[in-house]
Structure formats: structure tokens, C-alpha cells
């Protein structure tokens, strides 16, 4: 599976807005580039990214391997990250959070 890197604060106060960073290793080939011989290199990009907080979707984005976004720390639990892309690409990551 592709390498992922997520940054979530380990602890947060209830109701606090936390910043999350999520990154996945991907070639992000645009589909518009050509080789020296003129052959088109087929597109291979991330199509979708979803972040779930204890099972509830809190953020979603299209087309990007790296994104920084906020969410409210509501309760302790787990944040899950999932990327999907061309050619059946799929990567997952998760991070625990303690809310007090």
C-alpha cells in the first residue's frame, strides 16, 4: 500500500477546532504529459479523499494527495483517512485522538 502520512493532535479539548494534515504518496500523473517519442502517458491520479471521525464523515475532497483541513474535536476515538484513485488505487490511514 502507498505510504501515508497523517498529522492529528493526540489530545484536544472538547469542542476545540483541530487542524489535520493528510498526505499520500502518489505519482499524480496528469494524463497530458508525453514521452520523448510523443506517446501520451495515461492519467493516474487520486480521485477522492475521505476523513471519518468515529465513523462519521467530516471532510471530503477530490483530486488531491495532500490536504490540510480543520475539524471539531467532539469525542475521543479514531480518525480514519481513505484515498482512492485511478487503476484501483486505494490507501488508508488512521489516527487516535483523546478528547477531554
Amino acid at each position: 500500500m502507498a505510504r501515508t502520512l497523517v498529522h492529528v493532535p493526540a489530545r484536544a479539548a472538547k469542542g476545540q477546532i483541530i487542524e489535520i494534515k493528510a498526505l499520500v504518496g502518489h505519482v499524480m500523473e496528469t494524463g497530458f504529459r508525453r514521452t520523448e517519442s510523443g506517446a501520451l502517458i495515461p492519467r493516474d491520479i487520486i480521485r477522492s479523499f475521505v476523513c471519518s471521525y468515529n465513523g462519521a464523515e467530516v471532510f471530503r475532497a477530490d483530486f488531491h494527495p495532500l490536504i490540510e483541513f480543520p475539524t471539531i474535536a467532539t469525542e475521543s476515538g479514531k480518525l480514519e483517512f481513505r484515498w482512492t484513485g485511478d487503476n484501483g488505487f486505494s490507501a488508508e490511514a488512521s489516527a487516535p485522538i483523546t478528547v477531554e
Binding site: G31, E36, A61, D62, F69, T71
Partner: protein, 145 residues
């Protein structure tokens, strides 16, 4: 007979010709999202460096003036680049659980152009901001050795 050099020049010209969106294509992409609704200026702030040395990794952030409550929040943020081969660069979907209407990402920018951010609010209105950028090293369509 076509020399290799001529062929390459032609291939590049074709690639550039095909792989470039137009402001019209961007307007079409925006219209697809808004469904023809009016897009007003304001509320949105698109932040990007005005001079970009390398178009392959451009830091871009968008924030929207919104309380982000269940009754009043930003539903989506879209960023467009009229000169990129695919004008819709990024779409992010937010909600009351975001707390704050702000995203940061890295994008590829193909050429000097004016980028446009459009935010969709929960009341159905659309707001936008734009930022002109100058790109030294273009991304997206370069030849791969």
C-alpha cells in the same frame, strides 16, 4: 521526411494545443457546479503566492467567512485554473463539523493565469475570489525524458 526535431516540435505543439483548457472551459466547469446560479464576489479568500517559480508544487489556501454552524456553513470549496488542462483543480466538501472554513493544499499550475475559488454556502449562494499568478516553470504538460 520529418526530422526528429520537427516531430518533437509538432508533438509539443499538439500537446500544448490539446492540453489546455480555456476560460470558456472554466466557465463551463463553474456552471456545472453552480447550476447557472449567480456567483458573487466576496466572503472567500484565495491565498497563493503571486510569483511561482515552480508550477509543480504550489501552496494554495482558501478560507471563507462563515460561522460554520448547522444552520449556516460552507458546503464546498472549488478551485479553478483556466489555463490548466483540467480546470477544476480541487474540490473540498465541508460541513458544521469542520468548525472553520479553511483548506490548504498543493496544486500544479500550468501557466501564468488567474485562479478562481468558488464557495458554495448552505443557503445555496455562491461566492468567489480570484488571484493572478505568474508561473516561471510550468507544470502538467511538460515532456518526460
Amino acid at each position: 521526411m520529418i526530422s526528429r526535431r520537427h516531430f518533437l516540435a509538432l508533438a509539443c505543439a499538439l500537446a500544448a494545443g490539446n492540453a489546455r483548457a480555456t476560460p470558456a472551459a472554466m466557465q463551463e466547469a463553474i456552471r456545472k457546479i453552480t447550476g447557472g446560479a449567480e456567483v458573487a464576489k466576496g466572503k472567500v479568500r484565495l491565498e497563493v503566492a503571486p510569483l511561482i517559480e515552480n508550477g509543480n508544487s504550489v501552496v494554495l489556501s482558501v478560507s471563507v467567512d462563515s460561522p460554520m454552524t448547522a444552520a449556516e456553513h460552507v458546503k464546498a470549496i472549488h478551485v479553478f485554473a483556466p489555463e490548466n488542462p483540467l480546470p477544476n483543480m480541487v474540490s473540498a466538501y465541508l460541513g458544521p463539523r469542520s468548525g472553520r472554513a479553511h483548506i490548504t493544499t498543493r496544486v500544479r499550475v500550468a501557466d501564468s493565469q488567474t485562479l478562481v475559488a468558488v464557495a458554495q454556502l448552505s443557503d445555496g449562494s455562491f461566492w468567489s475570489d480570484s488571484a493572478a499568478v505568474v508561473v516561471t516553470l510550468a507544470a502538467c504538460t511538460e515532456e518526460v525524458k
